[in-house]
Amino acid sequence: MRYRTGIAVLAVSAALLTGCSSTAPTTGGDTGGGEGGGGASGGPFTIGVSNAFVGSEYRTQMIADIEEVFNEYKADGVVDELVLENADADVNGQIQQVRNLINRGVDAIIIDPNSGSALDAVFQEAIGQGIRVYAIDQAVDTEEVLNVGIDQAKWAETSAQWLADTVGEGGKIVVVNGIEGHPANEARWNAAKAVFDSSGVEVLAVGNGDWDQATGQQTMSDLLATYPDLQGVWTQDGMAQGVLRAVEAANRTGDIVVSGEARNGYMRMWSELKADGFQSIGVVNPPGTGATALHFAVRQLQGEELDESKTVDGDIVLELEEAITNDNFDEKWAEVQDQPDSYVLDSVLSADEVGEYFAG
């Protein structure tokens, strides 16, 4: 008999929980958050940063760029504290990162989100307390969040179009993608695939390199062995150097065209192979968008209004830098060749350039 009691309790609790959850929304728990929030005020402002993927050169440089711009503002007394939540975490962990920042009373949050949709609820918590949220690197669906970044599809189209033009109609290529199912990977690959389809380029096979140089190299070696007649390879940043190493190991740099990456390690190999006729392209995907977003945050916190005509569906889409090809390689390489191999070619808008996005 008592066993049934236990089961009944579970059932009752479930019903109770259901009851709780179905309660109609009344208040948004909006009394907390300390000094956080409050649209236009004089500052100084506290800025929070949430990044849940560490250990990649891209993210490291992203944080360093934010810190650099923050320190300039701090010297002027515009901001006072930068709270960094920077550790590997899943979506649940990133929700906690954002809550920590809210409880810390930050005025704005700059986030490199793990997911385009799963952080919506916690973004609403922040926005409900008057905190401004800026998503970089990957766009999120939440309307009130300002997405600041490049157009990933356009980024992919640029190198895909170049590759299609170089191998010509009927050309045979392989593809080394990032992580299957990842939103950024899907956006890029769908855009690139459309270019290849319309240009009549034949895609022999698609492999995954997990945005990792070693994995990319392995995948490319396998593809080279399977499809010896390929003329080009389209790949993404973070693994293009690995792909190029595989092509070099097969002694094919003279006849295989590689869509590369705008990173120093890759460009160093490119500079050495260029004399032998190797052709490539690098499109900059700047880690500096985080620092650019900080400029937007400061201006909005100071009460400035965005010029709606400069936004795309309410978001900020940054112009792509001119792509690096053999034509302008020497000039671009001269600017960055003193940086370490881990350096990602970067661009941060200046405070004045960001000002152009604002009315008045």
Binding site: T18, T23, T27, D30, R99
Partner: protein, 328 residues
């Protein structure tokens, strides 16, 4: 015979109760008080409604997982698959509800049923096939995790809005996540008064003696895992309400965190002693330690290290004092 068994059960229950209250509890509640005090000192906003709501919302899933783990551990087992049961139950409930407010109740039943079914697998393998719980649940953790990926291959999907919004509301002046923790406490209080839980204590304390006293050991062991699985299903609903979306990889830390919570709660890993209220306190301690480290401005690079050290210290304190109590 019957009388003798009842007397012995009664007296062992009394002894267990005294041990529970006297030794383990003092340390657990002391640690909880200390961590709450420190947190309140370093975080000026600690007692605001938002802070309480968000802090509780973060650890609701772990609280239910800790109660589940507590029951298994008291019964002399260990469940390493709790984390993936949470993941599987959450994606199944997500698919069943399909973002519709009207289906939230069905979603709860789906999560409970999925969790209970996983528990049944664990229970049959340990009690009937007689494999070690540690090995069984280590293996089934991968199995459940694999099924989760089949159900939901990549993160996505939307939880019914009423569930995510309701989770952030206050009900009778008390935030809903706090109510959820109170529900976990209530579930335990009622369960602990059932004959089933008395049998769990008996089996965990000494399975052979329990068998000799006509306790249906096999059935009790199976039901232990089934109950734990169902509770993991409730934890899954907490995860969904908190994130508002599905993720097949959610809950990776839950299994080990729940074990840490159980030990912090003064439940002996050899079984037969302790109570889930302690484990709930343990779960709260674990969550607040992370909080404190954040507000102490420990850089994120060192926070994991610091968090690990604090937990080891707390566990050591908890276990050492309990051991002294047993000798006495």
């Amino acid at each position: 015979m019957t009388l003798g068994v009842d007397n012995r059960a009664a007296s062992s229950r009394a002894v267990a109760w005294i041990r529970r209250v006297q030794v383990a509890s003092v340390v657990t509640w002391g640690l909880l008080a200390a961590v709450v005090l420190v947190n309140a000192m370093v975080q000026p906003t600690f007692f605001t409604l938002y802070s309480i709501t968000s802090t509780f919302a973060t650890f609701v899933p772990l609280v239910f997982a800790a109660v589940a783990q507590a029951i298994v551990v008291i019964g002399g087992g260990l469940d390493l698959s709790i984390g993936t049961i949470v993941a599987l139950s959450s994606v199944v409930a997500l698919k069943v509800m399909n973002g519709s407010d009207a289906l939230i109740g069905v979603g709860f039943l789906a999560a409970l049923a999925t969790g209970a079914a996983c528990g049944l697998v664990n229970g049959l393998l340990t009690a009937v096939v007689r494999l070690q719980p540690l090995i069984v649940t280590f293996a089934t953790a991968s199995v459940f995790g694999g099924i989760t990926l089949v159900v939901l291959p990549s993160p996505g999907g939307a939880v019914p809005p009423a569930m995510t919004q309701g989770f952030r509301l206050a009900f009778a002046g008390i935030p809903v996540p706090v109510w959820c923790v109170l529900v976990a406490v209530l579930i335990w209080l009622v369960l602990s008064r059932t004959k089933f839980l008395r049998h769990v204590y008996a089996v965990g304390g000494d399975a052979q003696a329990a068998y000799a006293s006509l306790v249906p050991v096999v059935a009790v062991r199976i039901l232990t895992f089934v109950t734990a699985g169902a509770l993991a299903g409730l934890a899954a609903m907490g995860v969904l309400a908190n994130t508002g979306s599905g993720d097949p990889f959610i809950g990776a830390d839950v299994a080990l965190d729940s074990i840490a919570a159980v030990v912090l709660g003064g439940i002996a890993l050899r079984g037969g002693r302790g109570g889930a209220i302690g484990a709930i306190a343990g779960a709260i301690i674990l969550a607040l330690v992370t909080n404190v480290l954040f507000f102490l401005n420990v850089p994120t690079t060192f926070r994991e290290l610091a968090s690990g050290l604090v937990i080891i210290a707390a566990l050591a304190l908890s276990v050492l004092t309990t051991r002294k109590g047993v000798v006495r």
